[in-house]
Symmetry: C2
């Protein structure tokens, strides 16, 4: 029996659908190899937030799809999480990340061999689920292009590593690809598979994109604010790895004291990091970044509010609003 992240306890109707998605993913990734199978299952049951399939399902419930579409809706919703998991595993190879969601990463625990194949396996399952969900090659096509956009976002971020001249536009382009693309796809496909009106289907895209952009900004802010138990201050992992995100980009624009520190690239000392933290605080960079993320959430909320009246709309609204409070 799988469980979801406890955040879904207050949305039982969505929670039971999410559990169906997880069970389907586990069934589809079952292979003879115990190590890889267990690796993937561990990741699935590690209680990710399942936001992508959740947005898919919420949008699908705004529509009028026939009851017999249920299995296809679950398969397509599951596919969004599977692509997300595949990119997580492959990104961890690149970041050489040790931990993810509080559990050791696949590549740290099992080596990059298992991580490469587990990610590839998930990509094959992603298209397998889509082929179960639809008779439309257009939907497959849309997914191949979305997957490409996600990769281009990642590649773009990699290209900008340690680039002290990175702009807000560069950053926005990366996160639109690596994160917002899949939120946009999830909302759009939910509306499409759920049989929503053309107007709702059209709106779903920009709502998804705004949510995805804000989600990534808020996630990036966490790296500046979250304090590991063993330390009294954030570890600024992204900065150490040359991934310069919103708070820092805003700081560099505002205060020229950042640049000499950043120019040290990979060779930042602990005292350099402390100095960067002080500069970020002095310039209210975190607050400013949060305000920008909030604008995207507010835009999404306004569009959700304008959708035709529907009981499930409230869940969509309150879930989206709650992203601003995320501390996970």
């Amino acid at each position: 029996m799988v469980n979801t992240h406890p955040m879904w306890n207050k949305f039982p109707s969505i929670q039971s659908l999410l559990i169906e998605c997880l069970e389907l993913i586990i069934e589809k990734t079952a292979i003879e190899n115990t190590e890889i199978e267990k690796t993937v299952t561990d990741l699935i049951v590690s209680q990710g937030k399942l936001l992508r399939p959740a947005y898919f399902l919420l949008f699908s419930r705004l529509g009028t799809a026939a009851q017999d579409a249920h299995k296809k809706i679950i398969a397509a919703a599951a596919s969004t999480e599977v692509l997300h998991l595949a990119t997580l595993i492959h990104d961890d190879i690149i970041d050489e990340a040790k931990m993810r969601r509080g559990v050791e990463t696949v590549q740290s625990k099992h080596g990059k061999d298992v991580a490469v194949y587990a990610g590839d396996l998930l990509i094959s399952v992603y298209f397998d689920l889509l082929a179960d969900a639809t008779d439309s090659v257009e939907i497959i096509k849309l997914n191949t292009l979305s997957m490409k956009q996600v990769l281009l976002g990642e590649i773009n971020q990699m290209k900008n590593a340690y680039n002290t001249e990175i702009t807000f536009e560069d950053y926005l382009k990366s996160i639109k690809g690596k994160t917002a693309q899949l939120f946009e796809l999830s909302c759009y496909e939910g509306a499409y598979f759920g049989g929503c009106s053309p107007e709702v289907i059209e709106q779903s895209r920009s709502i998804g994109q705004n949510i995805g952009i804000a989600f990534q900004m808020l996630d990036d802010i966490l790296d500046y604010t979250q304090t590991p138990e063993s330390l009294s201050k954030p570890v600024l992992n992204d900065i150490k790895q040359g991934i310069y995100t919103l708070p820092l980009i805003l700081g560099v624009e505002k205060d020229e004291a950042f640049l000499p520190l950043l120019k040290k690239g990979e060779h930042l000392s602990d005292s350099d990091l402390t100095a960067l933290l002080s500069l970020l605080q002095k310039n209210d960079c975190i607050e400013h970044a949060y305000d920008i993320a909030k604008k995207y959430i507010d835009e999404a909320l306004a569009s959700i509010d304008a959708l035709p009246s529907h009981p499930e709309k409230d869940v969509l609204y309150s879930l989206t609003k709650s992203l601003l409070k995320r501390e996970f």
Copy 2:
């Protein structure tokens, strides 16, 4: 202007179609990132043998597909090479291989970051090409399952690394997945997209599988026979990496002198390798392995011979026969 491997000079009609495939792959993998784009293009123009799209195209020409199917046939044929390239790049991350086709591997030249994303990008292009080639979600489904089988073959091989008890059946299972599956798919899809009769479509599968099995066996034999310019004897890379292929498996079955050496696993010395080479020669393992590969080729040739009469059948026959002479 791209070129093919010189082996295609004697088959100009197929060569021109293969060039169309390569040009399409280059077009589809064009992205803004110069490094990754160049990486993929380098690999494409490094004159691989293009056997998978070639078998696709040869089978397609046995059929009666309308002229307007041309673009779809090129796209589907190209997709087989793209999946092959994606698995090559990801396999090289795992093997930490330095060279491939006489050029430095992606991961050795650009690091595993670029290799992971370049492989993923190719997987997205693989499905993109398929979505251009067909309106049938069944074909997409078939490809997701084939891709999964390829991965399971690779995973199986990884699981058997340094396993001194590996059997012929274990080996056959791995190569059926990692290599024969894609040959089978290429022949089958060629026959399908080319509008062949149901009998030819049915035959194409087993022909492709036999060719693929033999191809991998012959490829594995090369590791025991090919001598790098700088050395006077083969380097037995596979054995060093714990990948025990046909000649060695046959030796271990026949002569118990192999086992004490193999038990050294990763710690084989140069003199151990020399001793293994002597044992392989003494037991005629290479010859025996070659005979087994030849049986699979002969079976494929007999089935090709039994196909309905067609001018292109001779090319199919002679290409398949020529695999036995491969020294590339």
